[in-house]
């Protein structure tokens, strides 16, 4: 069952062609990876899905629904979660508040009830806190840092908090942009484990951009390879690994020819 369909999407900024006729589907419950050299357009795809960029051509379908007219802030309510390449945590808030912010679309407190607070807003906040503590903080093992300001955290923990915030969005699809960038082997393994747990326990579909090939090959169900805004190929990790165009793009044309002969 397709949860996400990208249909013939093209994007350019002025004369620069960022994406050319990209089409792929993401199946519900799978981990779908997008890989490619820097500048290939990977983040732009996520930005189009999130609604931050508008494609010049083509459409995005979420659960069969055409997203073209739906503004970015409404896509979160549909079930689209997101983490960012450069950590986009809010430095003015603690870890807990950042996570609570993720749940924004699912809360109802308005200006008036917020000013009064006691009553409906308080109940909502307490329920939210309980849910976050049990489902997210416990799950991602970040109890000890929850009251700290995010700017005081180490890089790896910040990435994890960003993941926690994305989970608070109660996403059906989680778009992750380089979740293990800059992490050492141990942190990468932890994050990979969390991602797999998210898929299995919460049945969340994951679309993942990464450069860490080992991790991609280990945890993804299917992979799309991008180069200069064009799709080179897609398929299972094994299929993609053997594809000559992919080898050429990553290791060079000569290596590809050598491997073909050998």
């Amino acid at each position: 069952m397709k949860i996400l369909s990208i249909d013939n999407v093209s994007l350019s900024f002025g004369g620069l062609k960022v994406l050319t006729e990209i089409s792929f589907d993401v199946i519900k419950g799978e981990i779908f990876a997008i890989i490619g050299p820097n500048g290939a357009g990977k983040t732009s795809i996520l930005n189009i899905i999130s609604g931050f960029y508008h494609p010049d051509k083509g459409k995005v379908f979420f659960n069969g629904k055409d997203l073209t007219r739906i503004p970015a802030d409404e896509r979160a309510a549909l079930g689209m979660g997101r983490t960012f390449q450069n950590i986009a945590l809010y430095h003015g808030m603690s870890v807990l508040d950042n996570i609570k912010l993720g749940a924004h679309t699912h809360l109802k407190t308005g200006l008036m009830s917020g000013l009064w607070y006691w009553g409906a807003a308080h109940r909502e906040e307490m329920e939210l806190r309980k849910k976050i503590e049990e489902d997210i903080i416990d799950f991602l093992e970040i109890e000890s840092i929850r009251k700290q300001p995010v700017s005081a955290l180490a890089y790896g923990l910040q990435k994890r908090v960003e993941l926690a915030r994305a989970l608070a969005m109660r996403p059906k699809v989680l778009l992750m942009d380089e979740p293990v960038a800059g992490m050492n082997a141990e942190e990468t393994e932890d994050m990979a484990r969390f991602i797999l747990d998210i898929k299995e326990e919460y049945n969340i579909t994951i679309v993942l951009i990464e450069h860490d090939m080992k991790m991609i090959m280990d945890i993804s169900d299917r992979v799309l390879v991008l180069n200069f805004g064009k799709a080179l190929t897609h398929g299972t990790p094994k299929e993609v690994q053997k594809h000559p165009d992919v080898i050429a793009a990553y290791l060079g044309q000569k290596k590809a020819e050598t491997m073909e002969k050998g």
Partner: protein
């Protein structure tokens, strides 16, 4: 019809002078992404220093002008080095508020040093008004316009052809790229502030020559905002054209509407225009909408 042409002509001339000041503002914004709320105060300080040099030291304008340019460059340099350097990396709103604070400091200092009363400039240009057919143009305004345009042209040529100008444009366009090309970005910031201060100060002298100088001269500097919003915050051409348009519009508005409101319309009109521009075309005539990276 005569009144109409008269208003347009004087408006055009004053607009040219505004264009110079707006240019100073846009220079700083393009190079450093900082909105300089103290532009008006730079104007005012330039006028006061020139006044002091002429009246207290009895120097000739030919010496006074270059001296003010040097003072202004030093002022710009000091502001950038002493204050703004420390703000690198802080959010934009903090930096904007620093320039607001700076404008307050300069305003207060000027009043303390020179007092709050109005001073009129000793005449710089021949007094005879310029007469073009039915239109009478005050000599201060006319010659002031010529000087302002000369300075604008010099600046524009500098940017297009001189090495430092090209370096400034490169920094304005893409700091990272300029840096990797070996351009000392920090120096470019300082130079941009120096040039911005120079442009504003020269504009201040010209305006001071037309209408006299008092600490509130800086308020004229607030008109920068309608001008650069109309022209586009990051557009040099926009600053110049915006200056002319605002000069003409305010003159027309003042000329026709002042009687109904007992005065003051001229200074207000640009801001009413500003509100409308924000509604219709907020990036102005020539401004570019930023492409944000996520």
């Amino acid at each position: 019809m005569d009144i109409f042409l008269q208003l347009i002509s004087s408006g055009f001339l004053v607009g040219g002078i505004y264009a110079l000041i707006a240019l100073g503002f846009v220079l700083i914004y393009k190079a450093t992404n900082i909105i300089n709320f103290a532009t008006g105060e730079f104007m005012m300080i330039g006028a006061y220093i020139f006044y002091s040099l002429m009246v207290y030291l009895k120097l000739s304008p030919f010496i006074g002008f270059p001296l003010v340019i040097i003072f202004a460059a030093i002022l710009g340099f000091l502001v950038e080095r002493l204050i703004l350097r420390h703000m690198l990396g802080q959010p934009n709103i903090s930096i904007i508020m620093v320039t607001i604070g700076l404008s307050s400091i300069l305003l207060g200092l000027a009043e303390i040093i020179w007092g709050s009363s109005f001073r009129s400039f000793p005449p710089l240009f021949p007094r005879k008004p310029i007469i073009l057919g039915e239109i009478v143009l005050r000599s201060n305004l006319f010659y002031g316009f010529l000087v302002a345009m000369a300075v604008v042209v010099i600046f524009l040529l500098l940017f297009k052809y001189a090495k430092v100008g090209i370096a400034m444009r490169a920094t304005a366009n893409d700091q990272m790229a300029a840096f990797s090309m070996g351009i000392n970005v920090k120096t470019m910031f300082t130079i941009s502030w120096a040039f911005g201060a120079i442009a504003a100060s020269l504009g201040g002298i010209i305006i001071g020559n037309i209408g006299g100088v008092q600490p509130t001269l800086g308020h004229i500097g607030l008109k920068i905002f309608p001008i650069v919003i109309l022209g586009g915050l990051d557009s040099i051409i926009g600053a110049v054209i915006g200056g002319f348009i605002v000069g003409i519009v305010e003159n027309l508005a003042g000329g026709y509407l002042d009687p109904y409101f007992h005065g003051g319309v001229k200074d207000l009109a640009p801001f009413v225009v500003l509100i409308f521009i924000l509604l219709i075309k907020p990036h102005g005539l020539f401004g570019t909408k930023e492409i944000e990276r996520l």
